[in-house]
Homo-oligomer: 365 residues x 4
């Protein structure tokens, strides 16, 4: 039982291989009468696009999205929105030599184990290229959420660690995020990362990263008990991004070492409204949003597409050494930032709609 | 759109409030002709049961499970298995004073925000008591998995950190896990935790913990692209356990700092079979099991049911101080160990069945 | 992949065998703060209960329903509602002789073919006893719908044919339905049916029937394209009732012979509102409700639990003659009337909630 | 909560409007390593294509299907199969005059009631053009089923009634079906229909029809209790086809008038295997296939796209008369035959895979 869809009410199904004729998605359940154009989606896609700095792969993908259905005279109609991006710069010749070899850390071996066949060109279905469609769907979700929740609503992502080098949270400045090549909220850290990654590339290696995504202006009440918890769905959503190995909400793993009398967030009344005096919970209590910022972090492992030879096997059972040539990001975590934002937007919209199905219209925060 | 079910093919729906007449679950999709008795389930339930050491709540729950359907003459019939546990020791009087007050760090406020009503007795639906039914369902999943995968298959959990005190992994011994009050694989750490928690209790506070769950004997090929990834579903499953704030697979967050040339797991052939020389991936590549041990860790925050007064508000908008009396675990993470095992077993069985639906019978590992 | 649930947002999962300890259901997704008591549900259950006239089985089932969760201080809480009915009058001795024999027209053979095991006592899971839980869930759905849609809303069912004897639609009078043993809107037909069924019983045979269910006060707009059409979901819902072999909407099969210029329903404006001048569509156009009465009919085949010997086989492959003793309805279609009403109510509520998830609050009709 | 998908394990999602740039579908869950080419799909599409006789619409649609993903080197890979057909002959000018008017019997009014917006060009999403993608998906399902079930398996459809004129079942000959313009198994009836429809067209009217679909070689055991019954899912599948107003299985509505002692199908042993002596059940008992032919019939109402003026209203609330010009089938039931076959194939494959998920590999019949 395959699963290339996510979301229950705002439901996205993606399809396509890295080097097939096209990739695309179908969004089922978008509300009607939302203004939507290809330009709205293209803006977010361009943020994810490779080839924009020396720290990301030099593969050039214009990634021009087309809307094939579900929009009429500039507005959504409530019927499925089909989006497609044609693959142009494919260069399949680069990948011939890994046709029968399993790249360590990649899904080559497990796809073969599962299906007995795999489209080896550029990683096929397991390529990070699939995430372009998440970003496209996320752009639609954002449009709807902004209309529903108003200007207070935002979803923003940032890179908070590259390799062993974390940002200094004292220097956090959202305005910096779009001013460097790393979506870093700390410009000083960004400078260090540039040097660090130059060295990593020179060494024929790669580096991991940690991404943080924050949603503001989320009303209290989103998330379902017990198995459709907001944080549970966010965890699945982020973990489904290529190369992600961990997800945490709010204080996350640091909560283990906190004493109980300071780990929960005290509440007070300010201006007649409930406020929290801290946000260790990351905006989620009992699986339901509290009205605070929803804060999620996830770790992206170093890509294993590197020039250093690595011991592996081929599909015939022989031992081999694998080098991955071709154009690859030394730190795939960078481009994961807009992908994480998109997943956050999709999960929040899905839960907003799920909530209203059972409980009626929610108050704006 | 509520969600009190999990799993697609092996599907579990739980119901019940902490202080209602009973809790229960319905398991839909269990294979037929599997020997199953109440005793099989009771064994796992007893491991989770409170009141077994001074480090867990003194609330006594006999937790005697009854099978109401789906089993005939000692075997499953393929029809839904209904399990129920009647609530006996309820003492609702303990909870009267928090009827209108929101305990910080609890779901009291968010349930009210979502539904406009909540069963405040003992946390109602958000109580950890619900996890008893996960353990019951997990016991059924284990029976099926053992039959399908043979003796090589196991799911085992351990506590690896309490408060700031982690185990020494050099001392890891699975045989120790059932010999101390903490499911600790490191008996030295367990001794330290006992002293630490005595102090925590004395201070009227509580402590967090980290749980690790390992599944061995899992065949390669389980997990679905792209949004039904094995690690994605495990992340959602673990995050859905009460008080969990983070989940990681294999190297997890430590992967951020690893260099790319050592973070992937090299492969060789041994005895004619593929083997991996390390397990940073935690047994999952591209969302699909690799045949290695599946390794998941999750963090459980300190419970906020503590004797130290905490600033909060009540449902009428007044500021209050909240103390949670009653019988509470200083470290709810301890009892989360069998719950994490159960979730692992349920997710693995569900994915085994999902895999076979599309791809036919899997080879035993 | 089993399926003992129906509905997407208002989701009902039933469990239990005819002669097991109990039957029950879990309703997930009911809106919060709806007044609900066991009495509300019992009223509908009593309409379905056997043993109320000589035309239905004499098995006595008090069918006393208990609410085990999801209701607090008389109101739904938004969490799962667990309902249970304990089985009392089981008499398993009646069924011993068909333990190994397949009753023609029953599910005995197919359950064995599917699962390799079956609970043969009283039909086990395939017994019509399961429909009690549909009626219970339908009672909850009606409560919610009445609150949401007001007094104009109703779901009513009637028997319109028994054996070859149809009612005269000119005599249709809803007030008659509860005044005879057959839920007949035509009292003259009911008298004829009584004589007819006495003869059928005397002959050791049984009779089929046609049930019509009408929902009034349904707002326009319910139903989803393309595969969640309102009429598609109604068809599945009615076909899932035991012994149903056909379902039609509005003009149904008669539409084949109608000329196109008179088969569609003309529209006019009356009192400023759109009205239709006929209802061949049965209240559904393109899978979406039009605001007219939703009209569904379904056929219930004659029960094959009869005293006349019938050729069959046993599970060992031997040819046998089967007589079904015990207490059985000569016309199971009679008791299907409240079941059909319940399914209509559940489908409508589910679609109301599904609609609002995507499109926001609907106008009352 | 929209629903443009059907099937659980073999899951098809369709998208596209009649006069948008393209229509398409995504098939998720097809087994890997099945040979599949565009030609396989095109063959079935050509059977449904309009413009092939004077009895179907003269709109010419080359309906050339493209495979965009999920097939590699001529075989399915287990990943989603994306199919697209570009719309070429759109002539939107034909439809301008019904932009604001609701055609009686069409979904114009209900789409507006639901979404507040509709793509009025050619019926938009509610157009029968969507059924091309069902046929495409059905072609894939047939390929898989033939591989799994062997040559004994087939799905065949026939037109059995046009207007008031039914076939003579004594003359049933499957070989005739492809030899006339009507998929009629009775060549004599086909001749009469030709004359009848010429007159209908001359009258500016249209005619209804009844389609019968028969699947042979289906193993016993497919179908799920209680709400995923094989006949329940077939009913929903057929009812979801445009203009269908009723569905029946086996004896269907005729079962009402049958006496109980002859309505069930007796069983005997022949050649060591169970056989049935009749097939009133239509191959389904208790929602599960019995190994007999699965027999489904559905009625297609006369299209309301006719030249005769019909009273209606427009979206501004004014009363109007509506004539539907353009190219329309006088009997849309004809082209529904391959669509019914496709839905049967999709439902059977989905249930085969669902069955095997829980119960393991099924025996071939």
């Amino acid at each position: 039982m395959a699963s290339n869809s996510f979301g229950e009410v705002f439901r996205v199904t993606t399809w396509g291989e890295s080097h097939g004729p096209a990739i695309g998605c179908v969004i089922d359940g978008a509300p009607p009468r939302i203004a939507l154009s290809e330009g709205d989606i293209q803006h977010d896609l361009d943020r994810r696009r490779p080839g924009t700095s020396r720290h990301t792969t030099q593969r050039r993908e214009p990634d021009a999205v087309e809307i094939l259905s579900g929009v009429f005279e500039g507005e959504t109609t409530g019927t499925p929105i089909s989006l497609v991006i044609h693959n142009e710069d494919q260069r399949s010749k680069d990948y011939g030599e890994i046709k029968d070899r399993y790249r360590p850390g990649h899904a080559d071996y497990t796809y073969d184990a599962k299906y007995g066949i795999r489209d080896y060109r550029g990683g096929g279905r397991s390529s990070a290229r699939e995430t372009a469609m998440r970003v496209a769907a996320g752009a639609v979700a954002r449009k709807v959420l902004s209309r529903r929740l108003g200007n207070a609503f935002s979803v923003r992502g940032a890179l908070v660690q590259v390799g062993p080098h974390a940002i200094d949270r004292e220097r956090w400045d959202w305005d910096q995020v779009d001013k460097n090549d790393f979506f870093s909220p700390d410009p000083v850290a960004a400078e260090g990362w540039a040097d660090f990654l130059d060295q990593v590339r020179k060494d024929g290696s790669s580096a991991g990263a940690v991404v943080e995504v924050v949603a503001a202006g989320v009303p209290a009440g989103l998330g379902e008990p017990i198995y459709g918890k907001l944080d549970g769905d966010l965890a699945a959503a982020m973990m489904s991004i290529n190369a992600v190995k961990g997800v945490e909400i709010g204080a996350g793993f640091a909560a283990a070492a906190m004493p109980g009398h300071s780990s929960s967030d005290p509440m007070r009344i300010e201006g007649g409204k409930p406020v929290f005096l801290s946000n260790h919970a990351g905006g989620v209590l009992g699986g339901i949003s509290s009205g605070q910022d929803v804060v999620v972090r996830f770790v992206v492992k170093p890509t294993s597409s590197i020039l250093t030879p690595r011991p592996s096997i081929d599909r015939f059972g022989a031992e081999v050494e694998v080098i991955t040539k071709g154009r690859h990001d030394p730190c795939v975590g960078i481009r994961a930032v807009p992908v994480g934002e998109a997943m956050m937007a999709c999960v929040l919209l899905d839960h907003l709609m799920r909530h209203e199905a059972q409980n009626g219209p929610i108050d704006r925060p």
